[in-house]
Structure formats: C-alpha cells, structure tokens
C-alpha cells in the first residue's frame, strides 16, 4: 500500500524535473559558459569586481536590516494576535494577504506618492507645521519598501508557531515560578524558533534579489545585486554574466534551506 501511495508523487516529481530542475541546469549551463559556448568561471568570478561586490554587499546589508525590522515589528504583533483568540485564523491570513490583491507595482508606486518631497506625508507634516522628511531615493526608502512588501511573510509563520504552543506548557512554567520574562525566554521563544527561522528566510531571500523596489523607491541611485542581474538579462543582453551572478545568489538560498532544515524539522513554522 505504501508503495502504491508513493506512486502519487510521480506527477509532482515529473513537473519538478521539467519545470524546476531542467531550467535550473540551464541557468547553471549559461553561468559556466561564455558567448562562444566555452567553459569559464569568469561569470561567477565577476562577483568580485568592485561594482558587483559593492552591489552584493549593499543588498545583503539592506535585506539584513529589513529582516531585522520585520522581525522586531512582527514578533510582538504575532504575540498579541495569538492571544486575541480570533475566531478564524484564516480570516487573519486573508487580512494580511489582502493588500497583495492590489497589484505589487501599483502598491510600490503608491509609496512613491506617499514619500515624495511633495508627497502626501510631507503635506500632512507641513500642515501641522512639522519639519518635512526627505526619505525618498535613499537606502531608507528601499528598506521601507522591503519591510512593507515582506512583512506578512514574517508575521504569518511566527503567528502559526505561537498559536501551536500548548497553553498548558506556559501555565506549567508559571506554576513552577517562572516570571513573564523567564517564561518568554525559556519557553515561548524557544518554541517559536521554527517560525522565526522560516520568517527570516521568507523575508531575507526575496529582499536580496529584488530590483523593482530599489528602482522605484531608490530612484536608481543605489545599485543592488538584483538590479545588476536584471540589467544583464534585459538591457545588456549578457545572459551568461546574469546567470553566473544568479548562481552566486543561490549560495544564500542553499544556506537558508539548510537553516530551515536544521531548525524546522517538522515544518512547525509554516507560512500558513
């Protein structure tokens, strides 16, 4: 019977081979060849040039900062929500993914309208006689855009990990004399780690590869590694270099997959 059931994996495996694995190998093939088709490591080594290296460093830095901000914002929120006893947690899921039903490009453009020098927020500040802020086209605006777009991916897994904690465990800790702080550090937080790890992965990796956010909110003044790859694929037409640089990014993906595998053995902190 078990063998028969295993056969059910065939459709997905076939699908994965044709539409995930083969395309991935094509990227690898492009990444390790040059325009004449000869084997080369130059496309991967190109990450070491001053511009690419700096772009990668900036991307890592900005995505790291957005991930930290997301975590700091999302954890308390998830804790509050998990105690709220909301009747249907699917309703909650939907409230957080509802903004995604407004197109991503439109949402990011809307931030432009909000943050501009003559934008909505500055007009409100001016109305109250407050000093205006100048955040648009700075790394700060990019971080804001990343936090905005990826925050739901941090909230959901942490929330899911927290609601799964058996209240009896927490009560037991209290009964044994642990204060709120100790209960948190010794019981709640350790149990929520799978969710935290999954959230970090879901925020850090897409933030690392984005190019739309930095183009629209960064005014093209800040070159991220995602922008370089986009440039190579769509403008320069050097797919070999673009693929080579993408392969460098895959290292981060593999790292995050390993982390997930270590900390989240049972899929506790799933997205949904």
């Amino acid at each position: 019977m078990n063998n028969k059931r295993k056969l059910l994996s065939i459709p997905y495996l076939l699908w994965a081979i044709v539409f995930i694995i083969i395309p991935l190998f094509m990227v690898v093939y492009y990444g390790i060849t040059d325009k004449t088709g000869a084997f080369t490591f130059a496309n991967i080594a190109a990450i070491a040039t001053a511009e690419h290296g700096k772009a990668l460093w900036l991307s890592v830095l900005l995505s790291f900062m957005s991930t930290v901000v997301c975590l700091l914002l999302a954890y308390p929120l998830a804790m509050i929500l998990s105690k709220m006893n909301i009747a249907s947690n699917s309703f909650l899921v939907l409230i957080f993914i509802l903004p995604m039903w407004m197109n991503f490009l439109l949402r990011t453009l809307a931030w432009l309208s909000l943050l501009e020098k003559t934008g909505v927020i500055n007009n409100i500040l001016k109305f109250f006689g407050l000093p205006t802020m100048n955040i648009i086209n700075t790394p700060g605006a990019i971080i804001l855009g990343m936090v905005y777009n990826f925050l739901p991916f941090m909230i959901m897994p942490i929330y899911n990990a927290l609601v799964k904690i058996d209240p009896n465990v927490i009560n037991a800790a209290r009964d044994l004399g642990a204060g709120p702080f100790k209960t948190f550090t010794k019981v709640i937080f350790p149990l929520s780690i799978p969710g935290v790890i999954s959230g970090i992965t879901m925020v850090f990796v897409p933030a690392l590869t984005t190019f739309v956010i930095s183009t629209i909110l960064g005014g093209n003044k800040i070159l991220l590694i995602g922008n370089v790859i986009e440039l190579e694929f769509t403008t320069t037409g050097n797919w070999h270099l673009g693929s080579g640089l993408s392969m460098v990014l895959m290292v981060f993906i593999v790292i995050s997959m390993i982390l997930t595998a270590i900390f989240d053995k049972d899929g506790e902190g799933s997205m949904l």
């Binding site: 407004m102 490009l105 905005y148 595998a261």
Partner: protein
Amino acid sequence: MIKTTAQRIYVALIFIFLYAPIATLIVLSFNASKTRSKWGGFTFKWYASLFEDEKILQALGNTLLIAFLSASIATVIGTIACIAMQNMKRKSRTIIMGITNIPMLNAEIVTGISLMLLFIILGFKFGFMTILLAHITFNIPYVILSVMPRMKQLNPSTYEAALDLGASHTQAFFKVVFPDILPGIVSGFIMAFTMSLDDFVITHFTKGAGIDTLSTKIYTEVRKGIKPEMYALSTIIFVTVLILLLLVNYAPKKKQDTAAVK
C-alpha cells in the same frame, strides 16, 4: 488595561502601515486629474471608462482565469504530492522539500528567464499556456508548504481504523484524511491564487504577443503614466474581496465555519 490599549494601538499602527498605500490608490481612483501627482477634483469618470476599456477588462479576465486555473491545478498536484511524501523515508522527503523551495527562493527574474529558455527549447508557442505552466510551477510550493504541516499532524491510526472498518482506500482518504487536511489545502489555494494574481516578473518573460495580465499591462503603462482606470479597477477588486471577507466572517453561521477551519 493600559497594556491592552497599548497592544491595540500597536496592531492598529501596523495595519495603517500595511493599508496606507492601498488607501492612496483608492483616493487616486477618484482623482479627476490624469496625473498621479496632482489633485484635480473628485470624479467617478474612471469607473465609467473602465467598463468601456476592453483591453483592461480582457487583462482582468486573463489574470483571474490564470490565477484560478493555476491555483487549482497546483492545489491538486501539490496535495497529491503531500500524500505521497507522507509515506516516504525522511531522506527522500527532505530532497523533495528542497526542490520545492527552489522556485520560492530563487530570484524571480532567474525563474522567469529559465522558464522562457525552456519553452523556447520545447518549441512552445508563447501565450496563455506558457503563462499558465509557469504560474502552476511557482504555485505548487505554496500548496505543499501549507498542506504538509497538516499532513504531519494526522493520526495515521484513524486511517487504519477506517480501513479495518471496511472502507476502501479512496473512501478512507476522503472520509478521514481529507477533512483534516482541508484547511491546509484551502489556505494553500488562496496563497497560490494571490501569488499568481500579483506576479509580474515571471509572467513578463513567459507571455506571448496579444496576451496581457493586469501586471504586464500596468508595467507597459508605467512609461506613459498609469491609466487612472487601473486605480479604479484595483479599488473595485479590493472592496469586493473585503466585503466578501467581512460578510463571511460575521455571518451568523460563524460556529460552523470555525469548526471547519480548526
């Protein structure tokens, strides 16, 4: 008391943050001026002209159809894969889950380009089908990642018990396993549907001539300025979904719904 007030304020602030751009778009849909940066008075005219704009409506139709089909097919394939994985050894399960993570974590542009290369090699004609195939591909992981945890919580003995009581495998599955994993399937479907709706990069590289989704339509409009009809359409979509959500959530049959979810 102070604590709960502080908590409420905190939740409210996050909601304001998440919904501020949405509010901006809704306001823009009533802006008589064609330009984003100038307020030209209040108007409903974009809502009227929206329904005369065949191209936008067609793009909307394509978007919804692709989202619906890709989410449905991905849900079927993904759920079946989860059932199969449940019976696998740990190692092979880890490998499959690893593969599943790839499209979620890979740079979208790389996924898009690699699929385009694949379709060219396979000699596919670019159009509806290629977009659909691409969307199914990046949707399956969302289904698997939301069904798998439910699958693991299952108690295998209930299934065995059903078999012992004379149910066939199929019966046992649909009567015992399916109701338990249904919430995971449903949220996987919703997630997949949303992701498909929101995707731009992958669609851009796998679409052919004469077919547009809302995302690709908006992207080509960026050059000459977004048509205000787009804001109107987004507002309609948003308000429709919001009303549906509220209706369902505050409907009298709340208890039953909750039971189904839990």
